[in-house]
Symmetry: C2
Subunit: 422 residues, 2 copies
């Protein structure tokens, strides 16, 4: 059946459509941290952060079903849904981040964030790291480095070397922190020289796509100071660390310890319903709303708000942030204890883990990490890889992940590591 | 309560957030073509095309609820949902438009369409009309003319005068058709001169946002030939005319009579669930998939596909295209029969109508049209305005709109027109 589905897929979706695993999984059902394929085989989900409060959480399903049966319109009519959700969500933020725009995807959120910085500063130049992904619109794709856009990269984007905790460019974490800030300073100078000027720095506070390096709160302090001095905005992409993933609070920037000007939210926000948002200060919002006539038809519709509100309430009712902290710490201890000749580092923050592998000559063990992911899939554990060289196992399960789930995943990982050819 | 809600709205959403009516409507429930506000007052919906098969259609609600309770993941796993929907949807197209990418909003779809044209042609220049809207991402916002972007308009976009059936630039419809093509030819020359080259022309086949002028099939023939000769792509935005709105078939381009290279779909596609898509030929898709590493987390997820499939099936089961044709013709005849000193033209195609008003000196009766819209809202009929000068009433109801709904709307309109100060 898989072969037939892959053929249909190529016929109707075209070539090169991203898919996981050499032997793709045909999933038909999900519940909490579990997924089932069409043959009835069960998988432990150690990868998906979108079903944040668990696959098919009944409270989210009910909220969606009830509101979809009642009314679904747009924000050009008044509706209680977006007001209540907006108030509840912004109450989770400090730093005067009190206003929001609701959109449908993290990409749309980051696309708006760029224009907020343009509106606030009057400048058009941006900085990102050199190994990241902030979304798929034309504008935010420019911040990614995967394939050069047609017509080439535009010089209003400057990329700085991403942090790396295993093979850093040089020195201690403190020295890296300073070096990162100096690189940002140089990038700002280039933007000023080019005439674009410096509008903002878009970053993920845990550098999730960069390989999720092991950093510490305060790492970004020198960088934030450089950005502030230059008059640019910090655009904080919380699509991955947000909503309690770190186990330390609601947002990655609060863990890292800085005050962003704009925060973007996405994937986990409504447990899979297409909901995302941009949260910012009133002065930034006023600048944006004064410069652009922005309206998003589906953004903030009553069903989206109901799904997002239910997700937010479950995070609190089920104490999922504390769970991420406790289970995260337990799992990280077990991952750190794994002994393997190619293992370079096990790192984690809440329910986000990276296990990086290097060859004995210090080069990335990309092929090995790939073989481990495939073997785990065949053992019924779904995970994947991250990092510049894709040599880091990525585990980022739904938030109701428990200790026995961690034990099952890590017991299996130990077995797989033992038998996977180096 | 409205005042309090508006205050909360400004506090949490910021200033200048688009809203309808001087006295906004607080909607709490919808069913078919009807909406109810918090005071229990009923409104006839003559505006919203997003609830395409009717507000809260039970079959769509059930499809969403059932799939949300079963599984909601992404397209990097195999799933029957996107395959079945993709096959069913592309079967509605001719011109070898057999492949699709599913996204979440029409804006995302148009953003992808621009890059398809870039990938296929290797060029970066685009043409649009000078009074349009194709979405809200940074890239597609450049095709709109509302407010200049920070840093100014970029010269890779050339705008041509939009068609106008009431105050055309000159001559008969046939002469306008030729003039439109000549303007496109000149715009292509400018793009070639600027070094961007000509990638494509993005247009709505019924020019919905331009004011929905009364055109005839074949109007675009000379333009299509110019675009083909220059090697550019026709990017056809079916977000408004698509899914049977015209009452003549599934797509506006089939009514107008041309073969697009790329078609974008949005708003009505899943009856309000955030679903949109890009449909194209295999050669264009292969070029795009070869040039860009595109993945959309929420795009084509199982719930979105279930909502879209249910919507597609209802259009067929309830014969909504034939209904749009029949009720559309009936309503248009009645609208044409209205006599009013400022009425310049009543035009329509299926369930999309424009009633344009000019002052006796030939200038746009913008204020009058605005007063009519407000008065209709107070009479319980929701509609709005379009056109360069916002002097054209826009009626675009959900597709289950019946003759008695048309009678209620038009009887009310006649009364309102009679008493509204000129």
């Amino acid at each position: 059946m898989t072969t037939e589905m892959l053929e249909r897929r190529t016929r109707v979706l075209g070539p090169n459509v991203p898919i996981f695993y050499d032997c793709p999984v045909n999933l038909v059902r999900g519940e909490s941290v579990w997924l089932w394929d069409a043959d009835g085989r069960r998988y432990l989900d150690c990868y998906n952060n979108v079903p944040h409060v668990g696959h098919c959480h009944p409270k989210v399903v009910e909220a969606i079903a009830e509101q979809a049966a009642t009314l679904n319109t747009h924000t050009r009519y008044l509706h209680e849904g977006i007001l209540e959700y907006g108030e509840r969500l912004t109450a989770k933020f400090s730093h005067d981040l009190t206003q929001l725009i609701m959109v449908c995807t993290g990409s749309e959120a980051n696309d708006v964030a760029l224009r907020m910085a343009q509106a606030k500063t009057g400048k058009t130049g941006f900085i990102a790291t050199d190994n990241t992904f902030h979304g798929n619109t034309s504008a935010v794709s420019q911040l990614s480095t995967r394939r050069p856009p047609i017509g080439g990269y535009q010089d209003h984007i400057q990329l700085v070397p991403a942090p790396d905790s295993v093979r850093p460019a040089g020195g201690s974490l403190e020295e890296q922190s300073q070096a990162f800030a100096r690189n940002v300073e140089a990038a700002i100078a280039k933007l000023e020289e080019s005439g674009h000027g410096f509008a903002g720095f878009m970053l993920c506070p845990t550098f999730s796509n960069e390989g999720f390096p092991a950093l510490e709160p305060g790492f970004l302090d020198p960088t934030i100071e450089v950005v502030r001095t230059a008059g640019g905005l910090i655009l904080c992409d919380e699509v991955q660390p947000g909503f309690g993933r770190t186990g330390t609070g609601w947002w990655g920037h609060d863990w890292m310890g800085f005050a962003p000007d704009v925060v973007t939210l996405g994937k986990p926000m409504a447990n899979g319903h297409p909901v995302a948002a941009v949260v910012t200060r009133p002065d930034v919002m006023a600048a944006f709303r004064g410069a652009f006539g922005y309206f998003n038809t589906f953004g903030g519709n009553p069903v989206s708000c109901a799904a997002a509100l239910a997700t937010l309430e479950i995070i609190e009712e089920d104490a999922l942030i504390a769970n991420a902290h406790d289970v995260g710490a337990y799992a990280l201890e077990r991952l750190r204890a794994i002994e393997h000749p190619l293992k370079a580092e096990a790192r984690g923050l809440g329910l986000f883990f990276g296990i990086e592998f290097l060859q004995t000559d210090g080069s990335a063990a990309t092929g090995f990490a790939g073989r481990v992911v495939e073997a785990m899939r065949h053992e019924g554990i779904l995970m994947n890889r991250i990092g510049r060289d894709m040599n880091t196992l990525k585990m980022r399960p739904p938030m109701p992940f428990q200790r026995d789930h961690a034990d099952l995943a890590i017991d299996t990982l130990e077995k797989v590591l033992e038998r996977t050819p180096l």
